[in-house]
């Protein structure tokens, strides 16, 4: 009798353990990024590596979960991105899409995600519309956006004496948005915009536009562009003696990968705003070392760090709910829980989907000041989390008025 009871008890225990082990909560995460063109170094394979680290650090087994990772290249095309997102959600059981550089693609994925009630963790795209008029209950915007960049870089430069501005603007939606946001900040802080010029996208030669900037005698030349355009403009600016003539560049969207491509000789003195720097503290350094196992010789950018932080926070929310099925519910949980990771520190996700964390103003070092590879930035100022991002009252986000 006693043997039977203990046997039954053992069997029951075994069955519950087996049942528990047999039903781990399945979660699938898709990193949709630019693997082969303009933003591949800022995002791309480095973002996939970051997501992998997040899953590893989360330790799915300990939470009774099983997490799979897939990735794809959207080639900077909205239709490719939207169709991959659709396929992932409809056929491949993907629960959350992460990264997505290129605002046009992100906006398309934003719509698809809301339709299918999944989760969209944006780290790569810059458009502040994602937490503004296009905000969605299924979307969380991590790392940076055009408002943060405009306010961080714009405000501090004007306050430190850069009163007159001339813009070199990439002639497409993102460039115009960046110029518009920065102009608003400059004017609000007592500065003046003396001129601007619209440069076609993927333009190789900036000499003509740099001449116009020189002629304007503005103290600050604002670069409302990204990637190869920014690199070309700065490189050629060095040639034309822009900085020697007393003018300074303000890089409105720059990542450390761009600084590495330029070299310190050409980029020294540049002022920029980023919420992450690999060499900030022991935590970021340790993480970077692990990340570099996958990407030797490179340094992680804000976007890639954002992928890590967003993925980690998402997984914690899923663990709390014990299910990834209802996208809106998971995002609501992400908004309830404060976020904490070694890369961005303590922060939170606001009602409009905006993840809040501190931002920093950096200046690029001179070659003499840099002691080792990657030692590129000096910290000039810290912008508190509460000030770094657009206040919710200015969002025009439909979610907030409900």
């Amino acid at each position: 009798m006693k043997t039977a009871a203990s046997l039954a008890f053992a069997l029951a225990a075994l069955m519950t353990t087996v049942a528990h082990a047999q039903n781990p909560i399945p979660v699938k995460i898709g990193v949709l990024t630019d693997m082969s063109s303009l933003y591949a170094d800022d995002t791309g394979p480095g973002s996939v590596a970051a997501a992998r680290l997040a899953i590893h650090d989360f330790n799915p087994a300990a939470h009774g979960m099983k997490v799979d990772l897939v990735s794809a290249d959207h080639q900077n095309k909205p239709d490719v991105g939207a169709s991959i997102a659709r396929q992932w959600y409809d056929v491949d059981y993907v629960d959350a899409i992460v990264d997505v550089p290129n605002s046009a693609v992100a906006l398309a994925v934003n719509d698809v995600t809301r339709q299918k009630n999944k989760v969209f963790l944006v780290s790569g795209a810059a458009s502040s519309d994602l937490t503004g008029p296009k905000c969605s209950p299924n979307t969380v915007h991590w790392a940076y956006d055009t408002w943060m960049l405009a306010n961080g870089t714009g405000k501090s430069i004007v306050k430190t004496g850069g009163k007159t501005w001339f813009f070199l603007t990439a002639d497409y939606a993102f460039g115009h948005a960046l110029e518009r946001d920065t102009t608003a900040v400059v004017l609000a802080n007592g500065g003046q915009v003396v001129g601007h010029v619209n440069v076609p996208l993927n333009n190789q030669d900036f000499s003509s536009f740099l001449l116009q900037a020189q002629a304007s005698k503005a103290q600050i030349i604002g670069l409302a562009n990204a990637g190869g355009d920014t690199i070309n403009a700065i490189k050629q600016g060095a040639e034309f003696g822009i900085t020697k003539g007393g003018q300074h560049f303000a890089g409105l969207l720059i990542f450390i990968a761009d600084i590495q491509a330029l070299g310190l000789q050409a980029s020294q003195g540049l002022i920029l705003t980023e919420p992450f720097y690999w060499d900030m503290n022991a935590g970021t350094r340790a993480w970077t070392k692990r990340w570099q196992a996958d990407r030797p010789g490179k340094f992680p950018t804000t976007v890639q760090a954002g992928v890590y932080a967003a993925t980690l926070h998402y997984l914690k929310a899923v663990a709390a709910l014990k299910s990834a099925a209802d996208g809106k519910a998971v995002v609501d949980q992400m908004k309830k829980m404060p976020s904490d990771d070694p890369l961005f520190g303590k922060g939170e996700v606001r009602a409009d989907g905006r993840a809040i964390h501190p931002a920093y103003l950096f200046q690029v070092k001179t070659p003499a000041e840099s002691k080792y590879p990657g030692d590129d930035y000096i910290l000039k100022a810290t912008i508190a989390a509460s000030e770094a991002f657009r206040p919710m009252k200015d969002d025009h986000c439909p979610l907030l008025t409900q």
């Binding site: 619209n198 076609p200 040639e239 761009d258 491509a261």
Partner: protein
């Protein structure tokens, strides 16, 4: 200082000079394309990728062998020209007798393959390359600050363009080349090794592209995309100048550089498109191009 159409004359002269500098690159690249088309009857879409290889070769020579810009100017065109010869032997010789468009598609495919490899290996952000020490700095010309390196670009391009034109139009070797274009069989009957001449000509055209690449490295971002960004424009230049016309390529290259420069002042957003407008107009009025011969 007076004003022309609302722009101060100083600024205008500065823009014209800049246009001339850009025109140098267009001229060098379209010269290579014109030589190749004239000789091989192949539209070499790989030209952009070969230009990119030239820039990367300069970077790699500096990075790993410590060879500076001046050494690169000589070594790189030879190196990349050699790869061109391999391409000609392996692929191009089979399409020369077919319709032009097959050659175009083949070379386009090769361009994609080369660019893809470079992107995979180097990433897309680009590599740093500095202006050589001897050419650093610049002079204030009064109406603008002209970097020394840019002045060097104009001068050197003019020399190379003139030398090439002279070699093809005025020397005996050039006359063999031109004869072989018109009647290869007859030229072979005279004992001249036409296939070898063709192969070497392709190598030379590719070498010109690589030379342009080395010259571009200090001022443009050395990235795998640099070729595909410029090839379409150079194409348009060659078509406008007249495919196969050496003089046409040179004159149109410089000329279009200037027109593009002016557009950047008056209507900057359209500066990428103005070349296509001109191409459409020229094709409708003079389909053989400004200097071309066959329609």
């Amino acid at each position: 200082m007076f004003e022309i159409f609302g722009i101060p004359s100083q600024a205008l002269f500065g823009q014209l000079l800049i246009g001339l500098i850009n025109g140098s690159f267009y001229a060098l690249l379209s010269l290579g394309l014109a030589v190749i088309f004239g000789m091989l009857n192949v539209i070499n879409f790989t030209h952009g990728a070969q230009y990119m290889m030239g820039a990367f070769a300069a970077y790699l020579l500096l990075q790993y062998l410590g060879l500076n810009y001046w050494a690169a100017l000589i070594i790189v065109p030879l190196l990349v020209g050699a790869t061109g010869i391999i391409v000609e032997r392996l692929f191009l010789q089979y399409v020369r007798k077919l319709d032009h468009l097959y050659g175009l598609i083949l070379t386009f495919g090769l361009a994609l393959v080369i660019e893809g490899f470079f992107r995979n290996y180097f990433g897309s952000s680009g590599e740093p390359y500095q202006v050589p020490d001897a050419l650093q700095g610049g002079h204030n010309l009064g109406f603008m600050f002209l970097p020394n390196y840019r002045a060097w670009v104009i001068v050197f391009s003019l020399i190379v363009c003139f030398a090439t034109w002279f070699a093809i139009e005025r020397t005996r070797l050039g006359s063999y080349l031109r004869a072989a274009t018109e009647n290869p069989t007859l030229v072979r009957a005279f004992g001249i090794n036409v296939p070898r001449m063709v192969t070497l000509t392709y190598g030379f055209g590719v070498g010109l592209a690589a030379l342009a690449g080395v010259m571009a490295a200090p001022i443009y971002n050395v990235s795998p995309q640099m070729g595909s960004d410029i090839i379409i424009v150079v194409f348009a230049v060659v078509v406008i100048g007249g495919m196969g016309s050496i003089l046409g390529a040179i004159v149109t290259g410089f000329g279009l550089g200037i027109i593009e420069g002016l557009t950047k002042v008056f209507f900057p957003e359209a500066s990428s498109t103005v070349i296509f407008v001109i191409m459409a107009i020229v094709l409708l009025i003079r389909p053989a191009g400004l200097f071309g011969r066959i329609a």
